[in-house]
Amino acid sequence: MQIAETVNAEHGKFDHEVNVCVALGCLSQHSDQLKDALTKEAAASGKRCRVRQTGCMGLCAAGPLVLVEPSETLYGGVRAEDAKELIDSLGEQPVERLAVHRENYFERQQHIVLENSGYIDPEKIDEYIGRDGYRALVKVLTEMTPAVVIEQISASGLRGRGGGGYPTGLKWSTVAKSTGAQKYVICNADEGDPGAFMDRSVLESDPQRVIEGMAIAAYAVGATKGYIYVRAEYPLAVSRLTVSLREARRRGFLGTNICGTAFAFDIEIRLGAGAFVCGEETALIASIEGLRGQPRPRPPYPAMSGLFGSPTLINNVETFANVPPILRNGADWYSSIGADKSKGTKVFALTGRIANTGLIEVPMGMTLREIVFDIGGGVPNGGKFKAVQTGGPSGGCIPEEHLDLPVTYDALIGVGSMMGSGGMIVMDDTSCMVNVARFFVEFCMTESCGKCIPCRAGTVQMFQLLTKICDGVATHADLDLLVDLCDVIKNTSLCGLGMTAPNPVLSTLRYFKHEYLEHIEQKHCRAGVCACGSRVMAGEEVTA
C-alpha cells in the first residue's frame, strides 16, 4: 500500500525514535509534560531524532516509560528534568540510572494484540497503516467472500476474549445466516471486571486495530452499522476512539464505498453509565437502546434478535483486535500459536502483590507459575504467594498447588475458576481469603440489577453470612447455609452475574476451607485483616 511506503520512508529520516507512553498509567505521572520536554531537547540537540507519543508499554507501575528505537532501550520513572540527559545519550551509552532491566518480563511474552502498543502514535492512522494496518481489510474486501472470511476465523480457533470463550467463527456464521434487512456489529468495551484493563489499554494504544476488526466482521456477517459501547470511566479511550473514527472515515476505511468497493459500514460510540451488568450482552443492547441495562432471557440470542430486534454480532475489544492479524497472516499461523482448544495469545492484567505489575500478552497454555514468577517476578518484599485470582467476580482463586496449570479456558474451569476477561490478581499472606470472597460477593450484591430474586436477595444473604464469618460470630450452621445458598443462586439466576456470583466463595472454600474454619472455631484471622480474634484495632494501620 502506498501510504505504508510513505510512512516508512518517513521513518528512514530519523536515526532515533523516542517513544513516550501517554496511556492512562503514565499520563497520571505527567508523561505529557515529559514528552514536551523531550521534544524541545530533541529539537535543540540537532540530532536526527523524533519524539512521539505512544500507547502502553506494559510495565505501567514503572512509569512514565520511554522506549528508544532502534536500540530498544527502555527507561522508567523518567522526569522532565531527565530529558536533556536522555536526548544527549542517543547514539552513545544509555542512561544507566533510568534504564529498566526486566528481560524476563518482555522476552517470555508474545505480542499479537499488543504488537503496536508502545510503537505507534494511537492518534495517527498513518502510523497504524505503516505497520500493516488495514492491509487485512483491503485483502478481505477485494479478494475474499464473506463465507471465506468466516471460514478463516473458524479455522484460526479464535474464541471470545470477553469471558465466555465462545468460538468466534461460529458466532459470526450464525449472524451471517440470520435474516434481516439491517444487521449490527457491537464492540463490547464495557470492561466492568475490576482489576482488568486490557481493553482500555488496547483502545488507548491501538484503536484502529479494533475498528479494522469490526469492519471485517461487518463485511463477514453483512452488517452496515456498528456501535462501540465504552464505559464512561474511560474518557481517554473515548477521546482516542473519537479521533480514530474520524481518521478512518477520512481515509475511506469507514463510510460508503470502503476501499473503493460497494461495502458500506460506519461506527458510533455509545457511553456506558457505570453498571457492571451492562457488560452482559443483552443488558448492553438494552442500554444502547436507551433503556435500563437489565438482561433478558436467552434465547433468542442477539445473533438472531439483538439490537432493535435485528441480528447482532457482539464481541469483545480483544476479540476484534485479533481479527486483522489472523486475516493478514492466515488461520494456520494463528492456530499454530497457543494450546489445544485455546488458540492464540491472551492479554492479562497482572496486578496485586506482584513485582512487575502491568499488562502482558502470552501464548495460551503458558503455566501460571511462568506468568507469576518468571514474567511477574513473583511476590515482592519477601512475601509468600498464596493465590492468584482469575476471572474477576465470576472467577476464583487458584492456590499454589495448581501453579503448574497451563492457562487455557478449560483448565481454569477445571480448577473452579475461569479465564474471564484476563484480570490476574496475585495475593500473598496479607490477604484473607474469606475477606476476598466477601469482597467479590459485595461487588455482585451492589451490581445486581435486581431483576431476579436469587441474585438480588441471595447475594445480600451471602454477604451477611460472610460478614458474620469475618467478624468471628458465625457457626458451622452458617457455613452450611452459605454452601446451600451458593447452589441455589448458581442454578436459578437469570444471567451470568448471578450464575457466577458464588464462584469466589466456592473456590475459596475448595482451597482455603481451613481459613473459614479458623474464623468460625478459633475466631482467628491469620492474615490479620478481619474483625475477629487477633485483630489489630479497627482503623489502625495494618502492615502492608
Binding site: P194, G195, F197, G274, I425, F439, F440, A544
Partner: protein
C-alpha cells in the same frame, strides 16, 4: 406519525443548547436518552427533576423510563457534587493494595460516607469500581486527575488542603 412539538428549553442557560445539540445529533430518537443524560450531567454537574422531565418530553420517552434510567446507572447523580471530588478506586487490584484503608481514613477525616458531600459543600467523597489504572494501584481521582500508588499521608494532605482553604 404525529409530529410532536419540541418542548421549549427550560431556560436560556446556554448549556441547554448543548443538551439540545446531543438530541439533535441523534435525530431526537428515543434511544438517545442515555447519551442525552450524559450531556446534561457533564454540563450541569448532575441531573435534576426539571432536566429529566425536559429530556423525557423532548425524546418522547415515558417519564417512568427516564427516571428509571437516571436512577439505575451508578454514573448518574441527582445531587450536585461538592466543589472538589475525591474518588477512591475500590476495584480488586486497589483493594488488595489497601484501598479499604484509604477509604476509612478519608471517611474519618471528612466525617462523611462515600457518595456524600461535606456540610460546607467543599468535598465530595466517591468510590469507583476500577478506573483501569490497576497497574498503579491503589488509585484515586483528585477532581479529574488520576493519582496512582497513593500513600495515605498524601491523600490526607490533599483532603485537608481542600477543607481548610476555599
Amino acid at each position: 406519525m404525529p409530529v410532536y412539538p419540541m418542548p421549549p428549553l427550560p431556560s436560556d442557560d446556554k448549556r441547554w443548547k448543548i443538551v439540545n445539540g446531543t438530541m439533535r445529533r441523534h435525530g431526537y430518537e428515543r434511544n438517545a436518552l442515555i447519551e442525552t443524560l450524559h450531556t446534561v450531567q457533564s454540563s450541569f454537574g448532575c441531573l435534576d427533576d426539571n432536566a429529566i422531565r425536559f429530556v423525557a418530553r423532548a425524546l418522547h420517552v415515558p417519564l417512568s423510563q427516564a427516571f428509571g434510567v437516571a436512577t439505575f446507572y451508578n454514573h448518574f447523580s441527582m445531587k450536585p457534587p461538592g466543589k472538589h471530588t475525591c474518588t477512591i478506586c475500590i476495584g480488586t487490584a486497589c483493594y488488595i493494595k489497601g484501598a479499604d484503608r484509604l477509604l476509612a481514613a478519608a471517611e474519618k477525616l471528612l466525617q462523611i460516607k462515600p457518595g456524600k458531600t461535606t456540610q460546607d459543600g467543599n468535598v465530595s467523597l466517591m468510590t469507583a469500581r476500577c478506573v483501569g489504572a490497576c497497574g498503579r494501584a491503589p488509585v484515586m481521582l483528585v477532581d479529574e486527575e488520576l493519582v496512582g500508588l497513593v500513600e495515605p499521608v498524601r491523600m490526607l494532605e490533599q483532603l485537608e488542603s481542600w477543607t481548610s482553604h476555599d
